[in-house]
């Protein structure tokens, strides 16, 4: 037995690595197609957004005085800053697209039916949280487009009867867009939503593993 194998055996005996591998990765799946890879693609994109996002916080400053300049600095002053921001920027759009198609595929293949209703429901949370990531992230560059998009975006719930105006004020942290708005969007973008998404992915994937993947319905279903 090689040393690497000995180390692995030692660890496996204590951590049950083979067990994890068998349950998580070596699952039995019905005959499926490429549409079934989109959940894993969503997971990959979430991790990628997380990593590039963490890197962006090294230089980004969520204050009206510095947000715009700090992003200019990331783009022009820091080595590979354009790359990291570019991946985060396009990854955000891609994630919304991939998560949406994943949702459509589980819908069209009726994968949400018994016993997978809760998988679908946690999926709804993931979908809404993913869209909210896009909404909160959009303000952070604090340029004209960001500012006015968020002005309009926070105006929309204001048209709802009774509580509408309150919702707008809560989103903005006051009557107008301000430093308070930028700070809370940043906080929601990097702490609240990622925490919600990570926890919900945990439940979602636990259920996928526990229930197995549904097979493609045939004429008799």
């Amino acid at each position: 037995m090689s040393t690497a194998q000995k180390v692995y055996t030692w660890l496996d005996e204590r951590l049950g690595l083979t067990g994890i591998y068998n349950v998580v990765l070596d699952r039995k799946v019905p005959k499926v197609n490429w549409w079934f890879t989109l959940g894993s693609a969503s997971l990959f994109l979430f991790v990628m957004q997380g990593v590039t996002g963490i890197f962006l916080t090294v230089y980004y400053v969520p204050s009206p005085d510095h947000a715009y300049d700090s992003i200019q600095y990331i783009m022009n002053g820091v080595s590979f800053g354009w790359l990291i921001r570019g991946i985060h920027h396009w990854g955000a759009t891609l994630m919304v697209v991939v998560v949406s198609i994943h949702m459509l595929r589980t819908f069209y293949l009726a994968a949400y039916k018994y016993p997978r209703e809760v998988t679908w429901l946690t999926g709804v949370v993931l979908f809404l949280a993913t869209l909210s990531m896009g909404f909160t992230g959009y303000l952070l560059p604090w340029n004209q487009r960001a500012y006015w998009a968020t002005t309009v975006g926070t105006e929309i719930p204001g048209t709802a009867p009774l509580i509408g105006p309150l919702v707008t004020r809560v989103l903005r942290g006051g009557a107008d867009l301000s430093a308070v708005t930028l700070a809370r969007f940043f906080s929601v973008h990097i702490w609240f939503l990622p925490a919600i998404i990570a926890a919900t992915i945990g439940i979602h994937i636990y259920l996928v593993i526990r229930l197995g993947i549904s097979s493609i319905p045939d004429k008799d279903d």
Binding site: F55, D69, G77, V78, F80
Partner: protein, 161 residues
Amino acid sequence: MAKSPHLSRREFGAILTAFLGTVIGAVVGLPAIGYIISPALKTQSKEAWVPLGPLDNYPVGVPTLFTFTRTKVNGWEKTVNSYGVYVFRKEGGEIEAFSNLCTHLSCRVTWQAEAGEYICPCHDGHFDTQGEVTFGPPPRPLDKYEFKIEDGNLSILLREA
């Protein structure tokens, strides 16, 4: 089973995986490291020649103040520092360029013609035309700038601490 001299399918797979893993690791890892350390590798020049204009602008025998500002860029932040230089042309043609920062606690000294001295408003430090302390708490003479004259134009050498 006797070991075949050829690479087995499994061995080939392992080597290929290790190779691709290394390539991908480098492609992802190196930019990440560069991104984190790059501000540390950029150094701003600590020295600069600052032009003070034609020497003729400075009357002989009267210390004359020249002020300017310089912008320091740190990442996304710009700091504007202001400087004051007293140019003193002596009768004999000799020139001195003094910083107007008091050597006590860095208040700005001003030339007082009646007293014939530089006087600091903060703790009443006095300096004579040579920059020597004549009164008060300042521990050393006024700082002098290195200077040069090219085509009748005066410049001083600014050294950042």
